[in-house]
C-alpha cells in the first residue's frame, strides 16, 4: 500500500483532479460533496476500494500480488505484436526484467511500476499501428484508457466475446488494473522533466 501512497503523493493538483474525474465511476462518494473531498479523504476512499478489490479477488497484499497482476495484465496485451529484432523487442525484454524485479523483494517498486507503465504505453501505441517511440504525451493517457476500455477479452467458439474490462464490475481485477494504470501514468506526467524536444 506504500506504493500506492507514494504514487498518489506525486500527483500535482491538476493530475489529482484528473485522477478523481477519471475514477469517479469507481471511487464513488455518496455523502460528501465535491468541495469537501480533500486529497486525504480521497486517498482514504482509494484505500477502501483497493481493500475490497484485494479481498474479493483473493489478492495477497503482503506478498504484493497486485504488482504481479498489474504487470501481467499489461504485458499480455502487448506481447503478441512485438516484431523480432526490433527496438520494441528490446523494450519488451526490459519490461520482462522489470516484471521479475517487481516479484522480488528488492528494488524501488514505484520507479519500476512507472518504467513498466511507460514501456506498456509506448508498446501499446505500436500495436495500434504507430511507430515505436519512448516519448510519452499527455494525450496518451486518454487514448490508452479509451483503447483499454474497448479491448476485447479472449473469445472462443462457445463463449461470447466480452470486453476485457467489465465496466459494471467496479471491483473486478481488470478495473483495478485500469485504476492503477491511471494513477501511475498521472504520477509519471506530474514529475516529467519538461524540455522542448521531449514534449
Amino acid at each position: 500500500m506504500n506504493v500506492i501512497n507514494e504514487l498518489y503523493k506525486e500527483l500535482d493538483e491538476q493530475r489529482f483532479i484528473q485522477f478523481r474525474k477519471m475514477t469517479e465511476q469507481i471511487i464513488v462518494f455518496r455523502v460528501l460533496k465535491d468541495e469537501a473531498i480533500t486529497r486525504d479523504i480521497f486517498l482514504e476512499k482509494l484505500y477502501d476500494y483497493i481493500d475490497i478489490v484485494n479481498r474479493e479477488n483473493h489478492i495477497n497484499t503482503r506478498k504484493m500480488e497486485y504488482l504481479t497482476i498489474y504487470s501481467k495484465a499489461l504485458l499480455s496485451l502487448v506481447e503478441k505484436g512485438i516484431e523480432k529484432n526490433s527496438r520494441q523487442e528490446k523494450y519488451f525484454s526490459r519490461a520482462k526484467e522489470i516484471e521479475n524485479q517487481l516479484k522480488s523483494k528488492e528494488g524501488n517498486k514505484v520507479e519500476l511500476l512507472k518504467d513498466l507503465t511507460r514501456i506498456f504505453v509506448c508498446l501499446y501505441r505500436t500495436t495500434k499501428g504507430n511507430t515505436f517511440s519512448f516519448k510519452i504525451y499527455e494525450a496518451d493517457l486518454e487514448n490508452t484508457v479509451k483503447m483499454l476500455v474497448d479491448e476485447k477479452g479472449d473469445k472462443s467458439l462457445f463463449r461470447k466475446e466480452k470486453k476485457l474490462i467489465n465496466e459494471n464490475d467496479r471491483y473486478g481485477e481488470m478495473q483495478y488494473v485500469l485504476v492503477m494504470f491511471e494513477l501511475i501514468f498521472l504520477s509519471i506526467l506530474s514529475v516529467k522533466p519538461e524540455v522542448e524536444v521531449l514534449a
Binding site: 527496438r87 528490446k90 523494450y91 526490459r94 524501488n108 520507479e111 512507472k114 518504467d115 511507460r118 514501456i119 517511440s133 519512448f134 509519471i188 514529475v191 516529467k192 522533466p193 524540455v195 522542448e196 524536444v197 521531449l198
Partner: protein, 340 residues
C-alpha cells in the same frame, strides 16, 4: 503334408516365417484341422521373459504331444533357453544402448552448445575489437582536433594571427568529427558509448567556441557584405542533427536499456544533453547578435571586457558573501573565478 523344416534357433524361426506367423495344428489320426495359433515375436522385456518362456513351453508341449514336432523337445528347449538368454542379454544391451543414445544426444547437445558459446564469445571478441579499433580511430582524430583547437585558443589569447582559412579548416574538421561521433553513438560502433557521448558534447562545445571566435574575426573583415560566413548555417546544422530523433532515440536506449536507469532519469539525462546543445547553439546566436549591434572590433572588445569584468565582480562579491556562512560554496566559486 509339406516338407520338414529343421529349426534350431529362434533366429532360424524368424528368418523363415518372420516375426508374425500362424501355426496350424492338425489331428494326428484324421489329419483334420484342430487348432490355430497366431505367433508374434517381440523383443522380450526382462520381466516378460519367464512368461514368454512358459508360453513357449506350453506351445511346444502341445506341439510335441501331437507328434507334429519338427525337433525333439529337449533340443528345442535348449534352443529356446539359449535364445531367451540371448534375448535377455539383448534386452539389457538395448537398454544400455538406449542410455548411451540418450547420453550421446545430451553430450552432443552440450558439445554443440559449448561450440556455439565459444563461437558467440569469439564473435563478441571480434566485434569488440572492431568497436575498439573504430573508437580508437575516432578518438585519435578527436585528440588531433583538440590539439588544433588548443593552438587556436592560444593564438586568440596571445593575439597571434590565426587566419580565416585556418579557422574554416578547423571548423570543418570539428564538424566532421562531431558527425563521426554522432554516428558512432547512434550505430553503437564504439566499445564505450559513455566516452563517445562525452566526446560528442565536448566537440559540440568546441565547435560552438570556434564558430564564435571565427565570427568575431570574420564579421569586421567582411562587414561590407552580409558580415557572416555564407556557409555558417551548414556548420550550425550539426547541432540540429544532434537533436534529431535518431540521436535522441540512441540516448534513450543508452540510458534506459544499457545503463538501466529509470524512465524519469532517462528523460532527465536526455534533456540535459539537449540542454547543453541548446546552450552551445544559443551562445553562437548571442555572439552574432552582439556583433551586429557593435560597429567596430574595438567597440566589441570593449563591451566583451566590460561583460567579463562585471561577471568577475559578481563572482568576487558572491565569494565574500559565502566566505563566512558557506565556506565550501565560496571555494567552488573561487575555483570558477580562477578558471575564467
Amino acid at each position: 503334408m509339406s516338407e520338414q523344416i529343421v529349426i534350431r534357433t529362434l533366429d532360424d524361426l524368424i528368418r523363415k516365417f518372420g516375426k508374425e506367423f500362424e501355426l496350424v495344428v492338425r489331428n494326428e489320426k484324421n489329419k483334420r484341422f484342430k487348432e490355430m495359433f497366431q505367433i508374434v515375436y517381440s523383443n522380450p522385456k526382462a520381466d516378460q521373459v519367464d512368461e514368454i518362456k512358459n508360453t513357449l513351453m506350453a506351445v511346444m508341449k502341445d506341439f510335441n504331444k501331437m507328434n507334429h514336432a519338427v525337433v525333439n523337445q529337449k533340443e528345442m528347449l535348449d534352443q529356446i533357453n539359449n535364445s531367451l538368454q540371448w534375448a535377455n542379454k539383448l534386452n539389457a544391451f538395448n537398454a544400455v544402448v538406449g542410455v548411451v543414445d540418450l547420453c550421446a544426444t545430451v553430450a552432443g547437445f552440450v558439445i554443440i552448445a559449448n561450440k556455439m558459446n565459444q563461437m558467440s564469445v569469439q564473435i563478441t571478441e571480434v566485434l569488440n575489437t572492431v568497436k575498439n579499433a573504430h573508437e580508437d580511430e575516432t578518438m585519435y582524430k578527436f585528440d588531433k582536433v583538440i590539439e588544433q583547437h588548443q593552438y587556436m585558443l592560444t593564438c586568440m589569447n596571445d593575439g597571434t594571427e590565426y587566419s580565416e582559412s585556418k579557422f574554416i579548416d578547423l571548423i570543418g574538421e570539428e564538424k566532421a568529427i562531431l558527425n563521426l561521433l554522432r554516428k558512432a553513438f547512434i550505430n553503437n560502433t564504439c566499445a564505450s558509448r559513455e566516452s563517445v557521448l562525452q566526446a560528442t558534447l565536448c566537440m559540440a562545445s568546441m565547435l560552438a567556441s570556434s564558430i564564435v571566435y571565427f565570427d568575431n574575426q570574420y564579421y569586421y573583415n567582411h562587414k561590407s557584405g552580409t558580415g557572416f560566413y555564407p556557409f555558417e548555417s551548414n556548420w550550425l546544422s550539426s547541432f540540429q542533427l544532434l537533436k534529431e530523433d535518431d540521436f535522441i532515440e540512441a540516448l534513450e536506449d543508452y540510458f534506459f536499456l544499457e545503463l538501466k536507469r529509470s524512465q524519469y532519469d532517462t528523460d532527465l539525462l536526455t534533456c540535459s544533453v539537449i540542454d547543453h546543445l541548446n546552450e552551445y547553439e544559443h551562445a553562437v546566436e548571442l555572439e552574432k547578435s552582439i556583433l551586429t549591434k557593435l560597429d567596430t572590433l574595438e567597440e566589441y572588445k570593449k563591451v566583451k571586457k566590460m561583460i567579463s569584468d562585471s561577471v568577475n565582480q559578481d563572482l568576487m562579491n558572491s565569494i565574500q558573501l559565502q566566505e563566512e556562512e558557506h565556506p565550501k560554496v565560496a571555494s567552488i566559486l573561487r575555483e570558477a573565478a580562477m578558471m575564467r
